[in-house]
């Protein structure tokens, strides 16, 4: 296979006695955008949380550049370049935009590149520069999503995992956010995208996985899955609108 940045191998996760993931395997090629789609409760967020070290698998492996991360905590995974943009953005609302960004570059290596990263974020999201000293909680939903992604970019990620970037955003803003994700990817950051807006996600990704009740049930290129009749019927809908 080509140069895989992330390889998840037969990963199983349980919340107490309730199994959430069953032998999930996926691969994310360096420099690509990979989409992970599926209905609510399929295990997408669980998978992202396990990759970032917030949840611990009962078995399986998470290889990043060939190195198994399962024993490492979140801090060390972030230091290696795996950064999650969590569902619901989880910004520090009472802190300023700049303070949020500064916390993104908390670890020593990211801190050393702070000025460069900040410039990069402000180039990608000029609105954040204008709102620099305002409270994060006072921004609009779209701006908050930009800040959430910008905060992750400050950590100098190799792989950004974005959980439901379009949640609660208008179609126009959703398009903007997707364009920005593509721009980020073009600059060299690999992206693993969990999305409810399946149509959009399949259009920008090079590879996609479909999850259902804790299993990967289907995978292929974005075009293949968009063309797939079952996927269309189950997830995309007639006009390609959201679920």
């Amino acid at each position: 296979m080509a140069n895989q940045l992330l390889e998840v191998k037969e990963l199983s996760v349980a919340y107490g006695d309730v199994r959430a993931l069953w032998d999930v395997s996926l691969e994310v090629e360096e420099g690509s955008i990979v989409a992970l789609v599926g209905a609510n409760g399929a295990g997408k967020t669980t998978l992202l949380k396990t990759i970032s070290g917030l949840l611990h698998p009962i078995h399986g492996h998470i290889l990043f550049e060939g190195e198994d991360l399962v024993q490492l905590n979140t801090k060390h995974r972030v230091a290696k370049g795996i950064v999650m943009v969590p569902e619901g953005r989880r910004l520090f609302q009472a802190l300023t935009v700049l303070e949020n960004l500064r916390l993104g570059a908390y670890l020593p290596k990211a801190r050393a590149d702070y000025d460069d990263s900040l410039e990069r974020v402000f180039t990608l999201f000029p609105v954040l520069k204008d709102r620099m000293n305002g409270k994060a909680g006072l921004m609009s939903g779209g701006e908050q999503q930009m800040l959430a992604i910008g905060r992750a970019v400050m950590a100098r990620p190799r792989l950004v995992m974005i959980d439901e970037a379009s949640l609660g955003l208008s179609p126009i803003l959703t398009r903007t956010i997707f364009e920005l994700i593509v721009a980020l990817n073009v600059q060299g950051t690999t992206v693993l995208l969990v999305e409810q807006n399946i149509h959009m996600a399949l259009k920008i990704c090079s590879k996609a996985y479909v999850m259902k009740t804790g299993h990967i049930v289907l995978s292929g290129t974005g075009e293949e899955l968009l063309a797939d009749a079952d996927v269309r019927k189950a997830y995309v809908g007639e006009r390609g609108s959201r679920l």
Partner: protein
């Protein structure tokens, strides 16, 4: 007129002790989400240490700030890692709260065992020194307490606003998991804010030793006073906590003068409950911090 001014000044000076304790409570509450009920006992404990270093080694109490406060910080780190680290990770905050109650009674009784039940106080050579102006008398030592309180508030404020770890403390008190996601060691962030809370107990302990006579039972009452001060001032705001403390001191002194000493507690707890009923975010707290269900 001058007697009213005298009462207000005395109130502010008494309240500065409550203020320091309330800032500590506020910091610990921010990350651990519990009322650290042992705060008063820790203050009394450090007051005894100040007393000891004065009696045994003749160290001036204000000089002992240099040893007691760093020591209190280390004690705070130790307590956090020994007692609270695991409990802090649980969703059920009651475990941490019960640990704090246990710690309070343990230290109370440790103090009783080591220093006996006899009230202690320092006999400092300059304790009678007063400033007298326009018929108002203010003891230097009590005035110094006010300085300690403002100094503590400024130091904590600058730490929270200007330092990297301080920013992380504010972030963690909003959303602990989100700090973890960014690779921040949230356990360490909690430990630091707890330790600063205990270091403030060290500051308050030194202050207490210089002006009060204290015994092993003093701690619980003091923690409750700090809690009242915090409720008055509002959570999540260093200067609010200080202001709440000063206000409580003034209320107590006014109550003592106008309705009688026996009514002090009735007045302060009455106001405490009125504030909680009508202004649950406190007088100076951030609006929206106390959410309606």
């Amino acid at each position: 007129m001058s007697s009213l001014v005298q009462i207000l000044i005395n109130g502010l000076l008494l309240g500065s002790m409550y203020g320091i304790a309330a800032i500590g409570l506020s910091l610990i509450f921010g990350t651990m989400r519990i009322i650290f009920i042992a705060q008063g006992t820790m203050i009394v404990f450090f007051a005894y240490l100040t007393y000891w270093s004065f009696v045994k080694a003749g160290i001036d109490p204000y000089l002992s700030l240099l040893t007691v406060v760093p020591f209190a910080f280390v004690v705070g780190l130790g307590l956090f890692y020994l007692l609270f680290r695991k409990a802090a990770a649980l969703e059920d905050r009651n475990v941490s709260l019960l640990l704090a109650v246990g710690l309070m009674y343990l230290v109370d009784n440790l103090i009783l065992r080591v220093w006996s039940a006899t009230p202690r106080g320092l006999d400092i050579s300059y304790s009678g020194a007063m400033i007298v102006a326009w018929g108002i008398r203010v003891s230097w030592l009590r005035l110094a307490l006010l300085g300690l309180a403002f100094g503590s508030a400024v130091v904590v404020f600058v730490f929270l606003k200007k330092t990297r770890v301080g920013t992380a403390v504010r972030a963690a008190s909003e959303d602990m998991e989100a700090t973890t996601i960014l690779g921040i060691n949230s356990v360490w962030v909690c430990a630091i804010s707890f330790a600063i809370g205990i270091a403030l107990a060290g500051v308050a302990g030194v202050g207490m030793a210089t002006v009060y006579s204290f015994d092993y039972q003093f701690g619980f009452t003091f923690a409750i006073k700090a809690l009242v001060a915090l409720a008055l001032g509002g959570m999540g705001n260093v200067f609010g906590a200080l202001a709440g403390g000063l206000l409580l001191g003034v209320i107590e002194n006014l109550a003592a003068y106008y309705i009688g000493i026996a009514w002090i507690e009735v007045a302060s707890y009455g106001i405490f409950m009125l504030v909680l009923i009508f202004l649950p975010q406190g007088l100076f707290g951030r609006r929206g911090l106390v959410k309606k269900v």
